[in-house]
């Protein structure tokens, strides 16, 4: 279902793919059992397409990758974190509208 320009990241690849990335990254922390995660999936797909080349969009399954969510204190999903230069630039919790996420993206690109 995920668009082809969305990267799947794991605890193992998070450092190299996200923290060391030259482009800012939007990471969607999700799980299969989370309804609102499904609800925002199409919005994430659209944003990945729309901001292709400006940010990289990634998804991390929190069920399979407990370390990274733990490191960022994530206790709710969906959580979207925007990383820039290895740091957290913005964090959004819950299924919010596309315009809300876009505002956050515009602040880092």
């Amino acid at each position: 279902m995920a668009a082809k320009n969305i990267m799947q990241v794991t605890d193992e690849t998070f450092d190299s793919d996200i923290l060391k990335s030259e482009l800012p990254s939007l990471v969607d922390f999700w799980a299969a059992w989370c309804g609102p995660c499904r609800a925002i999936a199409p919005v994430i797909d659209e944003l990945a397409e729309q901001y292709d080349g400006k940010i990289q969009v990634a998804k991390m399954n929190v069920d399979e990758n407990p370390r990274t969510p733990g490191k960022y204190g994530i206790r709710a999903i969906p959580t979207l974190i925007l990383f820039k230069g290895g740091d957290v630039a913005n964090q959004i919790t819950g299924a919010v509208s596309k315009s809300h996420i876009e505002e956050a993206i515009k602040s880092v690109v």
């Binding site: 799980a31 059992w33 989370c34 309804g35 609102p36 995660c37 499904r38 609800a39 925002i40 999936a41 199409p42 919005v43 659209e46 069920d63 204190g73 994530i74 206790r75 709710a76 999903i77 969906p78 959580t79 964090q91 919790t93 819950g94 299924a95 509208s97 596309k98 315009s99």
Partner: protein, 308 residues
């Protein structure tokens, strides 16, 4: 999209909107359903639904709305994932304004934008959302394995979510401002029989404390006035809903809490504008009555179209 005149635009893709859409597609209306996320609405937060007829074993919230969506799609209902930011009702026209500034005109409008969870509105709540404050046990429950968590509220949602949390948490404390639950009896019985669930009656939360995550709650007993503190890692809040009507102006009549007022035919005070589901003024918010209202709204809209 800009010039087209739709017979009907439906705002919201939960059970009410999807049902209105199903009926409209079968009536061969030129209809469009707009949903800001993907279809489902609040049902997506519901783990298991046992009181929607036709599913004797119950059905997951996911699956139920997926089926509703597939059924509507089968009859050709167009569903677009777009956010509505305004409604224009001047000069007898009906126009929906989208987040990207585009506008769509329609002859009838069905408002089914649902409701969202109410907040407690106490210090610490907003700051700690996602850090122990949650409004969705099915989403966030698994983050609280072996933890002590609190649930605020006494209705079906609160008690059902508390039961769900016992799968993960060590202890679940239901904090309720009254001395008895409002939840359906069968749900109450399950909670009373569950060893992991405790109750704090006549109690309200006055503050959620914690630096980077929820650590404890400040409580007040509404009968005695006694204050106390309770150490928890999580607090799940289910104290009713507020309507998603922020994009709707004063032309459409709402009650004092912002829910849209309709008559039995799901008509609002504006001819050609109908409303159904949780966004409307009523006492009982269920999937079962949302779908009934959705069907009814579409029927009334069809009658209105015939009269034009």
């Amino acid at each position: 999209m800009q010039q087209e005149m739709y017979d009907m635009i439906i705002i919201g893709g939960g059970p009410a909107g999807l049902t209105a859409g199903l009926y409209a597609a079968r009536a061969r209306l030129n209809v469009l359903l707009l949903e800001k996320l993907s279809p489902g609405g609040q049902v997506l937060n519901t783990e298991w639904i046992e009181n929607y007829p036709g599913f004797p074993e119950g059905i997951s919230g996911f699956e139920l709305v997926d089926r509703m969506k597939d059924q509507a799609l089968r009859f050709g209902l167009p569903i677009e994932s777009r956010e509505v930011t305004g409604i224009n009702l001047s000069n007898g026209e009906k126009e929906v304004v989208l987040a990207d500034g585009k506008r769509c005109k329609c002859r009838t409008l069905v408002i089914a934008s649902g409701a969202s969870w109410n907040k407690l509105k106490v210090p610490g709540e907003t700051e700690l959302i996602g850090k122990g404050v949650s409004y969705c046990a099915t989403c966030d429950g698994p983050f609280f394995r072996d933890a002590v968590t609190a649930v605020v509220g006494g209705g079906d949602s609160a008690v059902e979510e508390a039961l769900f949390l016992t799968r993960f948490a060590k202890k679940v404390i239901i904090i309720h401002r009254r001395d008895e639950l409002r939840a359906t009896k069968i749900v109450q019985e399950r909670a009373m029989a569950n060893e992991k669930i405790e109750f704090l009656w006549n109690t309200v939360v006055t503050e959620i404390q914690g630096d980077d995550k929820v650590e404890r709650l400040s409580l007040r007993n509404v009968k005695t006035g006694d204050v106390s503190e309770l150490e928890v890692e999580g607090i799940f809040i289910f104290i009713g809903v507020i309507p998603n009507t922020g994009y709707i102006g004063d032309e459409i009549e709402k009650d004092e809490r912002g829910f849209i007022v309709t008559n039995l035919y799901r008509e609002t005070n504006v001819p050609g504008v109908f409303a159904c589901g949780d966004v409307t003024h009523k006492d009982f918010r269920q999937v079962a009555n949302a779908v009934g209202e959705g069907a009814n709204a579409c029927y009334s809209a069809e009658k209105y179209l015939e009269s034009l």
